[in-house]
Amino acid sequence: MLSVSHLTCQRGERVLFRDLSFALPASQWLQVAGSNGAGKTSLLRILAGLSEPAEGQVTWKGRRLREDRAAFHADLLYLGHQGALKEELTPLENLTLGLGMEGFSPGEEAAAEALGRFGLQGREQLPTRYLSAGQRRRVLLCRLMLRPAPLWILDEPFTALDVHAVGVLSRLIERHLASGGSAVLTSHQAMPLPPGLSVTL
């Protein structure tokens, strides 16, 4: 379970949010809402342990993130704004090499199957620079199928997706929640998911 107490985030001289506390139990998801520049991404980065809050603390399974970074990161799947995709590599290489560095080796067949489910069959061997923004986004989302992790932190997962991909993604998230996982998502619009918790910045 992820819990956050008295979190304050400061960027330069501006305070983005102050004294933020919440807890996210298993099988639940949390929507982080707020206008542009309200600090949604900053909050996600703090939750993921990428940056330190000015005040307050984040705990996972009752332990502070800093205490055991490796254990927390083994439980965490984070998808940020940026793609983390290499334009010169094919989608297949991007997936297998990226996951390889995280210590997972799903195998090419599993990776190809995941790409297929997001409608990318036939494009596995094409350099990623020939893919559209939405297709790149889908390559990234394949990680959700290939790397098991109880906690998902996804920044704007539904942007740039077509109806079919939105359907696949929401089914993935539902299944993740049903199997005891939890998720933190940011979004501007309403999400095609069963009702969850929400925080507005």
Partner: protein
Amino acid sequence: MNGAFAPFRQAVRRDLLLAARHKTEVITALFFFVIVVNLLPLGIGPDQDLLRKIAPGALWIGALLATLLGLQRLFAPDHQDGTLEQMALSPQPFTLLIAGKIMAHWLVSGLPVVMVAPLLGVQFDLPGRSLAILTLSLLLGTPILSLIGAVGAALTLGVRGSGVLLSLLILPLYIPALIFGAGAVEADLAGLGIEGHFSLLGALLLACIVFAPWVTTVALRVALE
């Protein structure tokens, strides 16, 4: 052994694959080295005795500059597209992944320099024994350049004017490697022993292998915040 170093090998493999898709960049750095070293005789004159004397220094400074060229792109592309974030969030030790990237950088920019060095040494009329010593000193020294350079690349990541800043930060720290490396060849040409130079160069390399990847990760975490 196999398990513990798996992330290291993964990172090396990935960066080598990327370098293979960017062959021109690798070749450009090597050409830069060859051209810089070849310009020196043109600026100084074709006096064989003088050239033999400056050869170690010329080749070492060429290697130094060629390393700097590639360093600017060591972390910047991965920082821009978010790969570095994913690496920092990986359950695998971040330091090992970074060490892999540094290793790949050396394989791509340092090793080719070491391999063409004997050819350039011949242009400076170095005797065979000195050629071997020069190549060996570069083989031990260029990894030091990559390792120290990685610290500078991490510190200047995403900073205004990072290219010039990187040289300002890193070049003074390269001095010991330059002195021991070029000094070994000079000492041999002067008929002195070279064991001292090589053991100091080796000690420097060991110290860098132990500390530089760790310092680089600390600096990268600061840059990612």
